[in-house]
Amino acid sequence: MEDKLKIGKHTFGSRLFVGTGKYPDFPTMKEALAASGSELVTFAVRRVNIDNPNEESLLDYIDKTKFTLLPNTAGCATAEEAVRVAHIARAAGMTDLIKLEVINDSETLLPDVVGTIEAAKVLAAEGFTVMAYTSSDPVVAGKLIDAGAAAVMPLASPIGSGRGFIDFSFIQLVIKRYGGVVPIVVDAGLGVPSDAAQAMEIGADAVLINTAIAKAKDPVKMALAMKLGVEAGRLAYSAGRISRIDHASPSSPVEGVIK
């Protein structure tokens, strides 16, 4: 069954995207990435420690023939900084994708949507395939799409919180309005496979998960659990759920009951 997801010029068979932060070590990360079945991995751009320049490299543990790379602009507090980091990431010559994050509130890590829209406009015009992390707000989603974002990534709850969906209604509105226009990827806050399944059941095109896998007691097992959650949710979405009704409806025939 063909159920591919296209973002820019990239096509993905798996609808689970994964981060590479917070793992206990690189070998565990490598195993978890494999178990997740993901084809898109995100990572950050940071200064080389020039006093210890040859620390192990993350990229040594990522099979670039299996994974598409998605550098992020995490740590950038302004549109200008995010554009600068995107340029640096592109110079590595590995991808045109950028996960755009502009955040300047360390307590909530909620996105600065004004800065995000501004940066999206610049980067999309320069040919980047922009995947924009944003609040679950249909108005902002519309503006990001106008700015040229190739995918909109609304949050379920704050980054790393593991709280799942705080509210469904706004993210459902994002999906209702813009699903089919650009991929909608639920990013941030998912804690367990049922959260991932829920995201897919309501019609999200994919989910991005980092902390919930990396910080699980057994990250490799959780990666597989998330994979199954995403697949179950996606199948349920395409199968079409029953309507909710207020009263019971018997599953067995009401005729021919033995009296």
Partner: protein, 72 residues
């Protein structure tokens, strides 16, 4: 002549003294940075890999040498 002279540069926010007359590629070797994974921003201009061997490091230059790390 200039081979033995020392210049002041700022690398990743730190003041450093390095020999004069090096290319960016030479600087990476001097710092013992694996070239394959590093991206260099030279005076706020991002260098393509092919520019590492042509860009020269001068007194007062600012360089950012970055790499990819785990993140989400």
């Amino acid at each position: 002549m200039s081979e033995n002279e020392i210049i002041d540069v700022t690398i990743n926010g730190q003041k450093r003294q390095v020999p004069d007359g090096m290319t960016v590629e030479g600087l990476l070797e001097f710092l013992n940075v694996k070239k394959i994974t590093a991206v260099v921003e030279h005076n706020k201009t991002v260098l393509g890999k092919d520019e590492h061997s042509t860009a020269t490091v001068k007194d007062g230059d600012t360089l950012e040498i970055v790499r990819f790390v785990g993140g989400g």
